[in-house]
């Protein structure tokens, strides 16, 4: 029986190859898409997770349109003093107030637009982001409004391509005013986090920023480290309680745990994976229709052969099987080749994007199962048509 299948498939090599190709592309894209979705998710998640699941961020809510008024009220409350207040929450270990502003950093003839991050000495431990070389600034630096700064790894590389930045003096320029700072450290490389580009920033004492640079004690947000990982919910409740005494409308601020962000990322990733997989499934469907099309042509073309086989005693079932075998053979061949190609493409993308190659086993079963089903479903109709042919009519067919 299989011999008959191979015989008739090899009689039309190009045609068979094209049907196989249709399924191959479908299966390959399903595999590649799912793998890309999974790889990207893993990548984002591991970066978010690298901040630590027990990180909580308190920020003013986004206000659009009439923002001016409401926003001002809140930012007025968001001060360095509130940081001390928040750190009284028992479930909170550390609070880092963050003032974020833009500026230019200059060294000799080089200059770089960058984000200035006013933070406290607890910052590296709170966001899980250690110093690579030199040191982070101390409480003393903080209290003395010291003009010291720590460079993000990218900044260090761009500004000091072939020099040691430690101990060098740089000029910070913001809104036309210049300040002279001394570099005391360089951070480790953290990689890009979507929203937070840690490596492209410069870190300096928050007090220095408030007094010397912005002249304003209001803070953009607070990073909080919870005392222990299982106290996240408690910490959030305590922080919200403290804030509620200061800010009447709970809509005006947001307290977000890193965990929630991870969950959001996961949710988005699932959506993305299914979306990509869905698009790829359509490709597979199109491949299936291709098989059906070619089988239908082949049934018409082989009407006489079917007549002969029936005359020799082939039953309805035998002819049905013959055509179904062909269609399933083609789709399975396409499925297996598509699987290999999909894995290859996924591996290529993964190596370019430097994320791990993840091919979930369900993707393999899905793709192979789907291609088999496509072969069956789209083979049944042409096969049934072939099987139903009347022997005498079929034999008369020219």
């Amino acid at each position: 029986m299989l011999r008959t299948t191979i015989n008739s498939l090899s009689a039309h090599k190009l045609r068979t190859a094209l049907s196989v190709l249709g399924i191959l592309i479908g299966v390959a894209s399903v595999i590649a898409m799912i793998s890309v979705g999974q790889g990207a998710t893993y990548d984002i998640r591991s970066r978010v997770e690298s901040l630590g699941a027990d990180l909580v961020t308190v920020s003013p809510a986004f206000r659009v349109g009439r923002a001016g008024v409401a926003s001002t009220q809140i930012t007025e409350t968001f001060t360095l003093e509130l940081a001390d207040e928040l750190s009284k929450a028992p479930a909170v270990r550390d609070v880092v107030p963050v003032i974020q502003t833009n500026g230019t950093i200059k060294y000799r003839d080089r200059n770089l637009q960058t984000t200035l991050m006013g933070v406290t000495p607890a910052y590296p431990s709170v966001v899980n982001y250690p110093v690579a070389r030199g040191r982070f600034f101390s409480t003393q630096d903080l209290e003395s409004y010291a003009k010291v700064l720590v460079l993000g790894s990218e900044v260090a590389q761009q500004l000091f391509p072939d020099e040691d930045p430690l101990g060098k003096e740089v000029v910070l320029e913001r809104a036309g005013t210049r300040f002279l700072f001394t570099i005391i450290g360089v951070m480790t490389s953290k990689g890009q986090l979507g929203f937070g580009q840690y490596d492209n920033r410069v870190y300096l004492p928050v007090t220095t920023v408030a007094r010397r640079i912005t002249g304003d004690r209001t803070v953009n947000f607070y990073n909080l480290r919870v005392a222990s990982a299982d106290q996240v919910d408690e910490a959030i409740a305590q922080v919200e309680f403290i804030l509620s005494r200061r800010i009447s409308n709970p809509e005006d601020y947001r307290v977000r745990a890193q965990q929630d962000i991870i969950e959001t990322v996961n949710q988005n990733a699932i959506t993305m994976t299914f979306l990509l997989g869905g698009i790829a499934a359509i490709a597979l469907l199109v491949g299936g229709i291709g098989i059906m099309n070619i089988l239908l042509v082949s049934v018409v073309e082989r009407t006489r052969e079917i007549g002969i086989r029936k005359a020799l005693g082939a039953k309805h079932r035998d002819i049905l099987w013959q055509f179904l075998t062909e269609s399933v053979f083609v789709s399975t061949l396409g499925g297996v080749m598509g699987l290999l190609m999909g894995v290859g493409v996924a591996a290529l993308i993964a190596s370019f994007s430097r994320w791990p190659l993840i091919i979930p086993s369900y993707a393999i079963f899905l793709a192979l199962g789907f291609s088999l089903t496509v072969g069956l479903i789209f083979g049944v109709y042409p096969a049934a048509r072939a099987a139903r042919l009347d022997p005498v009519e079929a034999l008369r067919y020219e």
């Binding site: 029986m1 011999r3 008959t4 015989n7 008739s8 009689a11 006489r304 052969e305 007549g307 002969i308 086989r309 029936k310 005359a311 020799l312 005693g313 082939a314 039953k315 309805h316 079932r317 035998d318 009347d390 022997p391 005498v392 034999l395």
Partner: protein
């Protein structure tokens, strides 16, 4: 079901009625037009007969053969094969009869173009569910018997008309059928090859098979024990010879 059972055990009785047709009609409907290919045909065929069907073109000879070959059902009338009412038989029953009881040799050979001679001969046994080794052995034997032992792996396109016809005959004999039907088996052949083929049919008849031939050729008919003359879808004359 063993398709390769020896001929002797197949039907214990050598005599008796094999086919029985009564007032059989076959009407082809083409859009509005009706073609009465058979118009009230009645006759019987005994086991072991050598019957020739003759008649002008369009008289309904092939139509009768298709009915006898269980490739088609009558439009009306009664038709019985071996006690089985063919009008009531299912498609699968007919397929089984075609496979096990009947060997059909077509006018245009009707070989499977993408299979070699051996595979062509094997095919009826494939549908009978025979084992491969047994199949191949018997197919080779049959091809040798029709003088094509050295053409096993030739494809139909690589064979001459006479060779194709002999492959078709070997194929018809594959499941050792009791009935052999041939629609103008010599129509496409030269005189000498035609005579060889006819001698083969004669021999197969001598082995105990029921043989029905359609022919235009008076000489061919002389091998037969009975000639059915047809015209306009009716039987004109039922002639016993020898």
């Amino acid at each position: 079901m063993s398709p390769l059972r020896p001929l002797a055990s197949q039907d214990g009785e050598t005599m008796g009625e094999l086919f029985h047709l009564e007032d059989v009609t076959k009407v082809y409907k083409m859009d509005e037009v009706e073609v009465r290919a058979l118009d009230g045909v009645s006759f019987a065929i005994q086991r072991g007969e050598f019957l020739a069907i003759m008649g002008p073109s369009g008289s309904g000879k092939s139509t009768v053969m298709h009915l006898l070959g269980c490739l088609d059902r009558p439009t009306s009338g009664r038709m019985v094969l071996d006690g089985l009412d063919l009008l009531k038989a299912s498609d699968n029953q007919l397929a089984e009869i075609r496979n096990a009881k009947i060997g059909f040799v077509f006018q245009q050979f009707n070989l499977l173009p993408r299979e070699n001679a051996l595979r062509n001969v094997e095919t009826p046994a494939i549908y009978a569910g025979a084992r491969r080794a047994e199949r191949v052995r018997r197919a080779k034997e049959l091809l040798e018997r029709v003088g094509l032992g050295d053409r096993l792996f030739h494809f139909p396109s690589q064979l001459s008309g006479g060779e194709r016809q002999r492959v078709a005959i070997a194929r018809a004999l594959m499941n050792d059928p009791a009935i052999l039907l041939a629609d103008e088996p010599t129509g496409n052949l030269d005189t000498k090859t035609g005579e060889e083929i006819l001698a083969l049919f004669q021999h197969l008849h001598d082995e105990g098979r029921t043989v029905v031939l359609v022919t235009h050729d008076q000489r061919v008919a002389s091998y037969a024990s009975r000639i059915l003359h047809m015209q306009d879808g009716r039987i004109l004359r039922d002639e016993r010879v020898n």
